[in-house]
């Protein structure tokens, strides 16, 4: 739970970072929902996600195909993916509203923008999960720059040490920002890590790359 919340960064960096979660509820509407989620994956693919994955298999960044990700949907299926623009996110929600599949649809992203485009689509949001920040021994955390990358995987599988190494690799010209952005995201098995945003961050932190 909550793994897509708490993405850190400036308003500017997060303004085009959206996560889409379409989920069948175990014991309520999961029976025969697999076909519906397969349809969702097809629509997601048409709109153009930055990443998409399956917790039981892996992501397109790891080299898995859409067909492999579709085949990995289980008896309580879920779609996890991210987009790099508000316009794409709004378009996918418009299409999902038209399909009216009855599955739960949740969006992570800038709160005001999600509320605004929902209103434009005639959608009244049900509930919200707010991030009230990090508490406790914060002095032992890595820098905010590192946290911007690692918090794109809420399960904590992106190591701060991998991020530090790859920022150095970009600075020293051993990797391009695009190559490093993909390599950082490979441990995230769900598909919510946004490589487009990571590329922009790497260009910012290694400006001469």
């Amino acid at each position: 739970m909550t793994h897509t919340l708490h993405r850190r960064g400036s308003e500017e960096s997060l303004k085009n970072d959206y996560v889409l979660l379409v989920t069948a509820a175990s014991g309520i509407n999961h029976v025969d929902s697999r076909e519906k989620l397969l349809k969702v994956l097809e629509v997601v693919w048409e709109v153009g996600p930055a990443n998409v994955g399956s917790q039981h298999l892996g992501t397109i960044l790891q080299g898995y195909s859409l067909e492999e990700i579709k085949a990995a949907l289980n008896e309580v299926p879920r779609v996890r993916c991210c987009f790099s623009s508000k316009e794409k996110m709004q378009e996918i929600i418009r299409r999902l509203k038209e399909l009216d599949l009855g599955m739960s649809v949740t969006v992570e992203g800038p709160t005001e923008d999600i509320i605004t485009f929902s209103e434009e689509l005639g959608i009244k949001p049900h509930s919200i999960n707010l991030s009230l920040d990090i508490w406790g021994k914060k002095e032992e955390l890595p820098s905010e720059e590192i946290l911007e990358f690692v918090t794109m995987c809420g399960h904590g599988l992106i190591s701060q040490y991998l991020v530090k190494k790859l920022i150095e690799d970009v600075k020293k010209g051993r990797k391009t920002p695009e190559q490093a952005a993909v390599q950082i995201g490979i441990p995230c098995v769900c598909g919510i890590y946004n490589p487009d945003r990571a590329t922009e961050l790497l260009r910012k932190y290694a400006p001469n790359s």
Binding site: V105, L130, S131, L132, W135, G156, C190
Partner: protein
């Protein structure tokens, strides 16, 4: 996790991938510090770590208690037998439009210890769960951490798990909105006593007019929500947002 010493060529490519910094190279062979290892499975996944000889393997008995909880909580590819949901907690807001887990007039709280980056121990969990239990919090039954308690009213964790470490796990519960201020003050106080960090979530339903009833309370407490959040758009069926009176 363990490293097959015959296969390992000591290249060290695996080292930065470990979020717990548990891997080192000694005598030209990679070794895993078993106390530090959180069993997240990163190093074991050959499509993640480009180990040229696929030298990592699962420790025998890795799914057995008590160490098995490291694997279950830290590796999101595993599925909990109670919730049938992968991960570390419930589906919280993601299916709230059909589960009605949190309805209008209520709040959902999630305290995710260990996140980000630091990991956590069951000792820290018990510091938090006992403090919350003391103010009358009722822990979420469908959350795997709740299942590790031997006394849910007091928030006591089964002693056999006390030495285990995890990437993170989540204390989850619901409450009437009237208890929000008391709960958040308790959470803030607990933060001072921990050897780790936690990420804090607050969940609630939109009112009919689109407002969020928790915002004035947060303003009074000086707690500003971050600008990005998770919003359930209410497209699931059957739709539920009002608690039936017999459930109240």
């Amino acid at each position: 996790m363990l490293v097959d010493q015959e296969k390992c060529i000591g290249c060290g490519v695996c080292i930065p991938y470990c979020p717990a910094k548990a891997i080192s190279v000694t005598n030209k062979k990679a070794v895993v510090d078993q106390d530090a290892c959180l069993e997240c499975g990163n190093c074991f996944r050959n499509d993640v770590v480009p180990c040229p000889t696929a030298a990592f393997y699962e420790k025998p008995g890795i799914y057995e208690e008590p160490r098995g909880i490291r694997r279950f909580f830290s590796d999101p590819t595993t599925t909990h037998s109670v919730t049938k949901v992968p991960g570390r907690g419930t589906e919280e807001v993601k299916t709230n439009d059909v589960t009605g887990r949190i309805c209008r007039g209520e709040i959902g709280i999630a305290v995710e210890l260990g996140r980000p980056c630091m990991g956590t121990t069951m000792i820290d969990f018990e510091k938090a769960t006992t403090a919350l239990a003391a103010i009358g919090v009722v822990f979420e039954e469908a959350n795997p951490l709740t299942q590790l308690m031997i006394d849910k009213k007091k928030g006591l964790i089964d002693p056999k798990y006390k030495t285990e470490k995890l990437i993170s796990a989540i204390i989850e519960f619901g409450a009437p909105i009237s208890q929000l201020a008391t709960i958040l003050e308790t959470v803030k106080a607990v933060a001072q006593s921990l050897d780790t960090v936690f990420s804090l979530d607050l969940m609630c339903c939109f009112e009919e007019d689109g407002t969020l009833p928790v915002l004035p309370v947060l303003a009074e407490l000086g707690m500003q929500p971050r600008g990005n959040s998770k919003i359930n758009l209410g497209m699931g069926r059957p739709f539920k947002i009002i608690r039936e009176s017999k459930e109240a």
